[in-house]
Amino acid sequence: MKHFRSMTIPYIVWALAFIVAPFVLIIIYAFTDGGLSLTDASFSLDSFHDMIDPLYATVFARSFETGLITTAVCFLLGYPMAYFITKFDEKVQSILILLTTIPMWINLLLRTYAWIGILSDNGILNAVLKSLGIQPISVMYTGVAVNIGLVCNFLPFMILPIHTSLSKMDPSLLEAAYDLGANKVQAFVKVVFKYSIPGVLNGVILTFLMAISAFVIPKLLGGGQYTLLGNLIENQFISVGNWNFGSAISFILAIVILFTISFLKRVDPDDET
């Protein structure tokens, strides 16, 4: 029915104005050198030349490293969690999933602020350690604090998609595998894990993408010297005022992420997302 086709027009206009246009503007700023205004801008690859400095490569590398560590930890902790949840009956499962979802609803800033209170040098963690007679540890403003904050934040994003895939699996398949002579490990790898792959990919992509571009958690838990890509971009836009350089970094970051996602998507046959 051709009637409904015109319903797409409002959003197409909206998308052009608010999705395409900003992206195009970022690209324009990345490839010019006019500073904040576009009026006296001329084509220039200065921003990209500046980026080649090895110290910026360090920032890229550190962001990727953080992303990988966070994703790995989330996977190692989250996969068992998702799997164990499926072992309970439906009603219990839905409550457990609900409990896993609720932290995601609580504002990110509020959750991060809570972690500051715990991890601070004079925070709860050290207060507890002191009362147990253990040396207090200084974890605030270090990479450890940032990773803890990131993992705690992104773990639900890893658990939920894996659980969704696993719950689609028919448990009788496992029994069939046992009947056919497989031991526990074989059955797990060949049946359960295989089924969970779409969910795993989903969770891994999501977590990695968010971790490498994280900005708030590194800033609050890592201090001014913990610079990831997100912090670098924010710094260029808010403090330094070098919108060209900031746009260039954003452009590279966006391209890298888009490529990573489309590459991983090709491996995943499921078209749902």
Binding site: M7, T8, P22, Y29, L38, M81, F84, T100
Partner: protein, 274 residues
């Protein structure tokens, strides 16, 4: 059989430990919101002073209103926009659909900081004064793709001839839409709306870059306040957490209650007939 039970216990313990990890900061925050002193480590006595502080602080109250109202408005508009668009796009040619879906995915796949500065550059270049409305526009923009992602799979599974059939039977296109298509997409629409609300209420980065004129939401206020220890934030967190808990449980268990009532009514009706 015995083995099964002990392994379930182990599973439960593991899950429990992870839940502690999730909820520890939340519990600690809530606990110290009732502290009579400023300390975030020593509990010196029960007090509601931080809650009083919270209610009397005009800045925080305004920010709460902004967070809530923008989340509600953005959810409503993006849900309507997203649903209608999902239905409409199903009637378009495949090429257009592919292109559209790719554009739609950009805000979701782009890191939020890139989306945020994109908006900031857009508003600055066009000299649009930043404030409440720019925040709303930005929120609608990043919420709608999530709605489309939830509704579109359901639209795909619908019988393409449903609307035609309805119209053949005399319904106007609007009636076909409202009375036939939408009810069938209820689940997807609801899921999409819920997702949109979460994304909007939780947002910080995008709001931070597109706001102006003194307009702040909860995230921005907390961000500005983290530099000094301030248990008023704990009080705010506690209220937000409680509201979320209550809402989630209501949302989850309303269907059960409704069904129970229906069953009860049917039972009485059944008895009356007999």
């Amino acid at each position: 059989m015995k083995k099964f039970h002990t392994s379930k216990l182990l599973y439960g313990i593991y899950i429990g430990i992870l839940f502690v990890f999730f909820y520890l900061p939340i519990a600690v925050t809530m606990f110290f919101s009732f502290n009579s002193s400023k300390s975030l480590t020593h509990f010196s006595g029960f007090s509601l002073r931080w809650y009083v502080n919270l209610i009397t602080d005009r800045e925080i109250v305004d920010a709460v209103w902004v967070s809530i109202s923008i989340a509600i408005l953005a959810t409503l508009i993006s849900t309507i926009l997203g649903t209608l668009t999902s239905i409409g796009i199903s009637k378009c040619r495949k090429v257009i659909r592919e292109l559209f879906m790719n554009i739609n995915n950009i805000p979701m796949m782009n890191p939020d900081i890139v989306t945020a500065i994109g908006f900031m550059i857009l508003f600055s270049s066009l000299r649009i004064p930043k404030g409440y409305y720019t925040m709303l526009l930005a929120h609608i923009t990043f919420c709608t793709p999530y709605v489309i992602t939830s509704v579109w799979p359901k639209v795909k599974n619908l019988d393409p001839n449903l609307a035609d059939a309805a119209m053949d039977l005399g319904a106007t296109p609007f009636q076909a839409l409202y009375k036939v298509l939408l009810p069938m997409l209820k689940e997807g629409i609801f899921a999409g709306a819920l997702l949109a609300f979460t994304m909007s209420f939780d947002d910080f980065v995008i709001s931070y870059f597109v706001t102006g004129n003194g307009v702040s939401n909860i995230s921005i206020i907390v961000y500005n306040m983290t530099k000094r220890t301030n248990p008023t934030i704990n009080a705010l967190s506690t209220i937000v957490i409680l509201v979320i808990f209550v809402t989630m449980f209501i949302v989850r268990f309303i269907p059960y209650i409704v069904r129970k009532n229906k069953k009860g009514r049917n039972h009485i009706l059944h008895e009356e007939i007999n």
